[in-house]
Amino acid sequence: MDNAKESAKADSATVGTPEVKDVKPKKPAGFSNPALKAMGINSIRLPSRNWMIFWCVVATGVGGYAYDKYEQKRLRKKWMDRVAKYGAEPLSPDLTARKVTVYVAPPPSDYLDESLAVFRRYVKPILNAGGVDFQIQSENRQGVIRSTVAAEIRSLRREVLNNTERLEREKEAKKWYNRLKRFLSRSKDEAVNLEAVEDKISQDKYTLTNLLGVYYKNALDEGKLHNEDAFVSDPTANGGVICIGRGAYKEYLHGLHEGLLGPLEKPIDSVDIDVPVEGTKDKDSTPESESSDTLEGAEVAVVAGEQLQSEDIDQKEHKDANGETNDKTNDESNDENSEEGEKLAKVPRPFIDPLEYSKTALAPELSFEGKIQTDSKVSPVFQQPIAVIPVYHLIGFLQTPVRIWRFYHKRELTDEYGRLTCAVVENLRRKFTPEDVDWAKDEEKDWPSKWVQKGIDKGSEWIQDTVVDDRVLNILSVYDASSIKDEKE
């Protein structure tokens, strides 16, 4: 036995060495010196090759993330410090700060939270540091932003129309022959009514609370709050619009066109669209709803179309981040929606087809020479400049390498979006050019092709070509970040 073993081992390199069962690889010597030995550290060794690989991979992963986070913080701080002086300006108690409207739309086949996260991380800190108030109008399905913007413009046009009509009537009434007519036909009832109205007015003015105490000196002072933009005569220097997402921007442009070029009343044959919520599996219910709604559509047109729109606006998700007008009704309607499940309010179809833009007149009630007066004396939305923040959002397993790259390079977005938001705060703007219609168009490369195909089949809003009319584009302006230079870098 021993001979056999010895002869078998004769070929191996271990001839001559003693027989051992296990041969452990010798540990490398490691670094040491007497000082370390005195401290008790006998040798400093690197880990094995496999552990080295492991720790290197982990360190790269974690380190890349930590570096990206650090850079994001630094860049965010840079932009916030740049606008901090605007936030430190004093504001008198009867003024409210400049307010920017933010339109947020979800990325395709995903939820609204993604776009809101983009807003919250990159835009909101700089708006807050710059002392600019904002109001978020969000949607969780297509078409809501367009219909609310168009409805707003239509109500403004109606108001201006009513005011001009009233002015005309009063002018007519002042004419001498009309005054004579009224004098001759005046009845006792009219005189009594007039007296009653005058009494009421004097009663309201001189109530006890107005004459005593705190209100004595300010008896007839209404104490109204004004927006500080009310005193700014340049209409493009008022307010501002930020669109988060290419979809929101498209809908905003469409809404502007629909509001300015479209009719004031809802067309009789227009049928509301049943749009599913983004990110959920949509039920194919559009054919049924269209056929059943024809009668309802006709009735709705007779009743003030504005009423229906205001209901639609209330029912849709209408978030105000500043909390100033945090209506309870919105919370209630959201609860109702979640309780009922799928029964969301229908989105009104555009009042005017894009192909008919060139046939209609541009808002004949409004004069676009100077600042158009609204209730709050701030210029209306279409005179306020626009900024668009793209929401790059890839989904899919095969896109994982790209997503990993983007995960490690968010600092670039912080810098870019921060610069644009600084332009918003500092009010750097220029006129709208036709190229600006394609702002953030490269976000559309991220849109999943299946979703796009489904959109083409259903004719949904975001897939359609952006048809624009030059007359509307001439009114618009845009925030321009190109004049903001990085000083320290």
């Binding site: 605007y86 108690p93 700060a97 002392g131 909390g323």
Partner: protein
């Protein structure tokens, strides 16, 4: 104020009405004081370098007051519901 012949609903005497009004005044004043303290603490910079409030402080105060009111109302409603259910005070 009119006196019902059959004495239908229980009448709230004027003393009770005054007491109720006093309670309400106490509650409102208390809430107002807390609100002012809270929002001042959160929003206003204590190093009083100038008399005017800045834009940031003004926006912060607007939001603080709105949130405080909203929360107050919601909590009040919940408390009322609990009180009606009779589960108020039970562990």
């Amino acid at each position: 104020m009119s006196f019902l012949g059959f004495g239908g609903a229980p009448q709230i005497s004027s003393e009770q009405k005054i007491a109720a009004a006093e309670n309400e005044l106490d509650m409102v004043t208390d809430m107002f004081n807390r609100l002012v303290d809270n929002c001042h603490q959160k929003c206003i910079n204590r190093s009083y370098s100038e008399g005017d409030i800045s834009k940031n402080e003004s926006l912060c105060i607007d939001r603080c007051v709105a949130k405080y009111f909203a929360v107050n109302v919601q909590v009040g409603e919940h408390m009322q519901k609990l009180g009606q259910n009779g589960s108020f005070g039970r562990p």
